[in-house]
Subunit: 233 residues, 2 copies
DNA sequence: TCCGAAGCGGAGGACATACCTCAACTTATG
DNA sequence: CATAAGTTGAGGTATGTCCTCCGCTTCGGA
């Protein structure tokens, strides 16, 4: 609801654009706000028509301001993506690797449950759109995950056969539950995340996990699993 | 590939139909075979056009033989559904409840990974189509799952806070992985199923699962998660 | 106050996908 | 070989998304 801090797009670009007319700037903010809501609810697959309708403007206006979906996403998600990265670093500060891991998983799952668009970006197709100042999110979060996993392995708290590549997959499974249970039992995903967390804990009797995923495997799965922002063409 | 045992639809119905012409019966078998393949690959969302094309017949022929999707599904999946139920009973025969549970989960996950249509039917919308002799699949498998869970709880091998309602959810998560990894790493889902299984095992340190799912919750999630066979109307 | 540039809206064209029908044609079989 | 049974696939209906374009409205500087 609070429409503060949306950031009128002054400077930050090649920038030879004159400032928008007052009414136009207002509409722009409305569009951004609407985009956040719509993408949060329906994921990146949401359409421009939905955003326009929610913002109470014509479709043409949305297109005029954001000629491509990427342009809109970049602005709408800038802040959320930063939060996501910040959260990961926070997790790293936990006293033990295990706590860091659990904290990260729970936070990420929570964020992805609340904002389906963020999930799509964080786990998926973000590769395809060059995000403004920051690189694509996976590049910023992945090294952190890697360090967390390493620490947990050193402690011996995390079962040895788990790798960083598993993390995105776990989050996809959980966010899938979150998404489909949202209307009925929005917290349902906690349950299955906890089950997975308990499965990750080192224990005397745990089964064989088989060959680990490679980064390419994960990439391919994400591409197939999550919506591809860009319309085919 | 073997096209044996498809069962020409003699008797078994109100039945006043005369036998099909030889060429028609052949086409019918082709269609059923094609339907099995297509539904296995693409799930219940597959279209009549796909089936027709795969069978090498015109769309009109498919419609003539199977006026509704349900009619086609009923025939195409009769055997697979029976297998599914048989498998569940087999699991029940395991020496311990825990082994029964693990066996059931692995078998079900495997079947759902191989046949996406079966998954859709087993976990989802089967409610909507009244399946020929057998009731909808969930009704036949659910009591078995329930007994397995009970036994495992009595033994104390399964953590106490897990319920039957969790089983379909676990299978959905896993089959989602199976589906999206199919082209790259078809066995990937084993890994995540194992993680879940290890999370299900009773252990000194396992986290709090929160409120269990109710049958209605599961119903609602399944409805939202899995394709609704029937076109809207 | 006024007017030109900036902005707006949303009908509608282009395209894709799915469902399902039907009239013209082909084929098995008594 | 006559005829009922069967086949075909183009095309009508419906739905949904993308995106453009042009007539109209509004802002804001002169």
């Amino acid at each position: 609801m609070s429409s503060t801090g949306i950031g009128s797009r002054t400077s930050t670009e090649g920038d030879d654009e004159r400032p928008l007319r007052r009414d136009a700037e207002l509409n722009r903010q409305r569009i951004i706000e609407a985009a956040r809501e719509v993408f949060a609810e329906r994921g990146l697959a949401a359409t421009f028509d939905e955003v326009a309708h929610r913002a109470g403007v014509g479709i043409g206006t949305v297109y005029r301001r954001f000629p491509t979906k990427e342009a809109l996403l970049a602005v709408a998600f800038e802040e959320r993506l930063r939060e996501h990265a910040r959260m990961a670093e926070e997790a790293l500060a936990a006293p033990t690797g295990w706590e860091a891991l659990v904290h990260f998983l729970r936070q990420a799952a929570g964020m992805h449950a609340e904002d389906r668009g963020l999930r799509d970006l964080a786990l998926g197709a973000s590769a395809e759109l060059g995000f403004s100042p920051h690189e694509r999110i996976r590049d910023s979060v992945e090294p952190i995950m890697r360090r967390i996993i390493e620490r947990a392995h050193e402690e011996g708290s995390l079962r040895a056969d788990v790798t960083v590549e598993d993390i995105p997959l776990l989050l996809m499974m959980v966010s899938e539950v979150a998404h489909h249970s949202h209307a009925v039992r929005p917290e349902a995903y906690h349950r299955y995340l906890q089950l997975l967390i308990d499965g990750l804990r080192r224990s005397s009797k745990s089964g064989n996990l088989g060959a680990p995923m490679t980064p390419d495997d994960v990439e391919a799965m994400a591409r197939q699993w999550l919506p591809t922002t860009l319309p085919r063409r």
